[in-house]
């Protein structure tokens, strides 16, 4: 500050000039940045199956009549009682609702319930992770069947007049029990001699359904197909192919659950691209019951927020009176009541 005024002013001017030049350079750089930015608002690495999330409305032959909000958490599976009410396996309880959606009762269980089925006489068969229990129609426990010695993980039950078929996803087998709980046959195990390839189960979704035509329907998600077995365990035929297109089974492991219409046609449930479709018994794609649009939360949920065991987002379907289809969305804990659209040519 001691320098002559002249020199000081001179350096000041120089300083200002340089400052202005620097600012201009910074502004230019900023502008440049402004022009090239803007890629931050999209995800260049998005994994998108968006095209498959839309269903051709012409293929949807069902209409949603009602949506039931279940009062229970962790609803996993459904079954229909002979009276037409719905049984819900939800966490550590078995709930019952009327088709109108009002809760009738709930029966507490000792462990998380994984599957449930009802016999024609009203007897309830409940599957836990590694054992089965039998209940009277009024919810009183009648029997606890022996704990399975294997690494069992029961995920589906089907009941006939004289047998109970339990799908054991852990052991990759369908166990046929007599009504006393004795295992009388093992179905679907890998067997080269009988040309049975075995179940491929990346996740615990193995369902078994029975139809009076005498064949068991079992899904084989890892092979993207449905297999038909005789009660003796002979693989009669199988169909299904992996594709996200509507006529096939999507993702790594679908279908996850099955239901049978009164005439033997099959209702299939998928996860990932949550959708429910109807196939003829011989695998011809017939129509869509509910497309992915109906389950937006389910589609987003994925494997996140597990029920404690890593399973979460799936659909289950059961067929009620008049071939009404009830779909359980495990993410929203809602039941969608679906009825066939009234068209004369159907």
């Amino acid at each position: 500050m001691n320098s002559p005024a002249h020199s000081s002013r001179c350096s000041r001017r120089r300083f200002l000039l340089r400052g202005a030049a620097g600012t201009a350079a910074a502004v230019v750089a900023g502008r440049q940045r402004g022009r090239t930015a803007g890629s931050g608002d999209t995800n260049p690495y998005a994994y998108s199956v968006g095209v498959h999330e839309k269903t051709d409305p012409a293929l949807v032959k069902y209409v949603e009549r009602r949506r039931i909000d279940l009062p229970w958490k962790e609803a996993r599976r459904l079954a229909v009682t002979p009276q037409g009410n719905l049984l819900v396996a939800a966490g550590q309880r078995l709930g019952e609702v009327t088709p109108d959606g009002s809760a009738v009762r709930e029966v507490p269980m000792a462990a998380p319930l994984r599957c449930v089925a009802v016999a024609a006489d009203g007897t309830i068969y409940a599957g836990f992770r590694a054992h089965l229990e039998v209940f009277e129609a009024d919810g009183k426990r009648r029997a606890t069947w022996e704990k399975s010695p294997e690494r069992s993980w029961f995920t589906g039950i089907a009941v006939t007049d004289d047998a109970v078929f339990a799908a054991d996803a852990g052991a990759r087998v369908i166990l046929r029990h007599d009504l006393a709980g004795q295992v009388t046959a093992r179905i679907g195990e890998r067997d080269k001699d009988r040309d049975i390839p075995g179940f491929v189960l990346p996740s615990p979704y193995l369902d078994v359904e029975w139809h009076p035509d005498g064949l068991l329907r079992v899904n084989n998600p890892g092979r993207h197909r449905v297999e038909f077995y005789t009660p003796d365990g002979a693989l009669e035929f199988a169909w299904g192919r992996p594709t996200m297109a509507i006529e096939g089974f999507s993702g790594c492991c679908n279908p996850v659950n099955l239901a049978v219409l009164s005439d033997g046609r099959l209702v299939t449930c998928e996860k990932g691209l949550p959708r429910v479709k109807v196939y003829s018994a011989h695998g011809d794609f017939e129509c869509v019951v509910a497309g992915t649009e109906m389950f937006p939360e389910n589609a987003q949920a994925g494997a996140g927020d597990g029920f404690g065991d890593g399973t979460r987002a799936s659909l289950d379907a059961v067929v009620g009176p008049e071939d009404r289809i009830y779909i359980l969305d495990t993410v929203t804990a809602q039941i969608h009541v679906m009825e066939r659209k009234p068209t004369a040519n159907s």
Binding site: M1, N2, S3, P4, T36, S39, P44, Y45, V63, E64, R65, R66, R67, I68, D69, T98, D100, G101, S102, E322, H336, E339, K341, P342, T343, A344, N345
Partner: protein, 602 residues
């Protein structure tokens, strides 16, 4: 003026000069090197941005081609090569920019070091000049500094003011909430969403149901009921206001309206129990006189059925009073349109479409030019568009269809069937094929618009042309036992017409060929309805006929209800709602009240 712990160089001048030259050269070379490296890095940066390997359009195109030709091995090979190339380029880019960064750093260090050294060699010792009056200069400098600090402060404050008053917030809160008062939970919920198509189809949101063809998707409905024994009668509720309009249903609510010269009412019943949930009076507009009201009472004040879009219900009366309520009966808006000039009283029913209300306001005579068709915003009642109609009074309800890739509104007027664009109200096509006192409404089935010329004929029109159509463009016409009051009903395959004198005719929708007719031997004003494969018909003396909606005639039930019926039924899951002269009946299996019907999808 540089950092030097050494005194200025004592070396001979020449030696110093040559060292200085070297240093200067070095610094310049380093500067050029840095500029080059920096420039290359910059160019690379932009090139990497533009040619992001993961967004390669070439790759996307190849993959698209592969999807079209999944067996093309050559294509697969090209994809693999391109993929390898792109990824190699990407990782090479990473390596290059890393190396470039180091080169830049080294260059910078070398340049700065030599430049500093050079400056030091060149440094001239500071020779202080003699200065006087330190205090004076000090004071001046301080004053300048104060000014600068003040300017800085003012500039900062100005910037902050601009920031504070230039910012707005979209958080839904008043200042009170922002200041920390509670009541955050009471923040206004977002606008309720309009129900989707599925909910619309599952309800009975307007006269003749969601499609206007009086077809219900519900099938679990009773075939017969008995008011005497109460069999299959869920409940009965008195209707305190007379009217010919038909009930509508949304969720667990049934709506209808009625009135006389004294008052006009909108009524809401609980679908489960029949309890009157609410009733609201719609007062007459300011221009309506008592004399007009008396005259209107003769012909009926409430022939127009209500409509709902799932959020609001709408009602219109022959007084020209139009009102909107939310589902809980809170008034949303109302309009007084003035008493229409109509010999029988206004009778066109209301129709909604995605939150909008369609109003066909035909009146007077052709030359009066007072008729119009308007689409109103359901939330406000403000017109979206209005189209004048050069027709006199008519009593049909308009029809909204989706055909030929566009939303169309089909109306009847004088001798014409006229269609308008749903989007803007512009006329789309018209055909001169009807006449008389137009009462049965147009319907849409099997891709055809079916328009009834009362007691004359039914015409089928394919709604994919534009402009004036001729008689030759009619797909078919049918002229046997054509009704003059009841609107025909049709599913995709079969059309049923019901003449006022009770003759039911079944016609093939595709060909117009009559399949059968049957005399029900009753007088009918109410339009029949189809639910599943059943046909419900109601007579003016309370007769009920339930038959098969099939290619052959089949009777399922025929019985009496004991109360005159002029209104078309409405359907809900497991329930039929029938409006008698003074009673609303809910009919359903069991006859026991099995709970309010809640839970219908919305």
């Amino acid at each position: 003026m540089n950092d030097s712990s050494q005194p200025p160089p004592r070396t001979p001048a020449a030696e110093g000069a040559s060292l200085a030259d070297t240093l200067r050269r070095l610094a310049r070379v380093a500067a050029v090197f840095c500029c080059l490296t920096g420039g290359i890095l910059l160019v690379q940066h932009y090139r990497a941005r533009e040619a992001d390997p993961f967004k390669s359009t070439e790759m996307a195109e190849l993959k698209r081609q592969l999807a079209a030709a999944p067996k093309d091995e050559a294509l697969k090979q090209r994809i693999r090569e391109l993929d390898l190339h792109l990824r190699q380029r990407y990782f090479a880019h990473l390596r290059r920019s890393q190396a470039g960064g180091w080169l830049l750093l080294i260059g910078l260090a070398a340049g700065v070091a030599s430049a500093r050294r050079f400056r030091k060699l060149r440094e001239q010792p500071h020779l202080p000049a003699f200065a006087e009056d330190q205090a004076e200069r000090h004071l001046a400098a301080q004053a300048r500094s104060r000014r600068a600090a003040g300017i800085m402060g003012v500039a900062t404050a100005a910037g902050l003011v601009a920031l504070a008053w230039g910012a707005d917030t979209s958080l839904p809160l008043g200042t009170a909430v922002a200041d920390g008062a509670a009541a955050v939970g009471e923040a206004q919920p977002a606008t309720p969403r309009l129900p989707d198509q599925a909910a619309f189809l599952a309800n009975w949101p307007r006269f003749l149901g969601p499609t206007g063809a009086a077809v219900s998707i519900h099938t679990n409905l009773p075939v017969r009921w008995d008011l005497e024994s109460g069999e299959n009668v869920l409940w009965k509720a008195p209707v305190p206001a007379p009217g010919f309009n038909s009930p509508i249903v949304w969720g667990d609510r049934v709506f209808l309206c009625g009135g006389n010269a004294e008052r006009r009412l909108v009524l809401c019943y609980d679908a489960g129990t029949g309890a009157l949930r609410w009733q609201k009076e719609v007062p007459a507009g300011p221009t309506v006189t008592q004399k007009q009201l008396k005259e209107l009472e003769e012909t009926g004040l409430s022939a127009s059925s209500m409509a709902t879009d799932g959020l609001r219900v709408y009602a219109v009366f022959a007084t020209g009073d139009l009102a909107a309520f939310d589902l809980d009966g809170r008034p949303v808006w109302s309009k007084a349109l003035g008493v229409p000039d109509d010999p029988y009283g206004h009778a066109s029913s209301l129709v909604t479409h995605e939150g909008r209300l369609l109003l066909q306001w035909d009146q007077g005579y052709e030359e009066d030019e007072v008729s119009k068709l308007s689409l109103l915003d359901g939330a406000t009642g403000e017109p979206v568009w209005e189209t004048p109609r050069a027709f006199g009074a008519s009593w049909t309800t308009p029809l909204i269809i989706n055909a030929a890739g566009a939303g169309q509104i089909v109306t009847l007027g004088a001798s014409h069937v006229v269609a308008y664009n749903l989007a803007d109200g512009a006329e789309r096509w018209r055909v001169d094929c009807v006449g008389g006192e137009l009462t049965p409404s147009p319907i849409f089935a099997g891709g055809l618009v079916l328009a009834t010329s009362p007691s004359d004929r039914v015409c089928a029109i394919r709604p994919d042309a534009t402009g004036e159509l001729s008689e030759d463009d009619l797909v078919w016409t049918e002229d046997e036992e054509v009704p003059d009051i009841a609107t025909p009903v049709a599913n995709e395959e079969l059309l049923f017409t019901l003449a006022t004198y009770g003759v039911l005719v079944c016609v093939d929708v595709k060909t117009g060929e009559k399949l059968w007719d049957h005399d029900l031997e009753m007088e009918c004003n109410a339009s029949p309805a189809i639910a599943g494969d059943r046909l419900y018909v109601f007579g003016t003396d309370g007769q009920v006929f339930v038959g098969r909606a099939a290619r052959e005639f089949g009777e399922l039930a025929k019985f009496e209800m004991g109360e005159p019926i002029h209104a078309s039924p409405a359907f809900a899951p497991g329930r039929v709602f029938v409006r008698g002269e003074s009673t609303l009946f809910a009919l359903g299996a069991g006859g026991k009240s099995d709970g309010s019907g809640g839970g219908v999808a919305e």
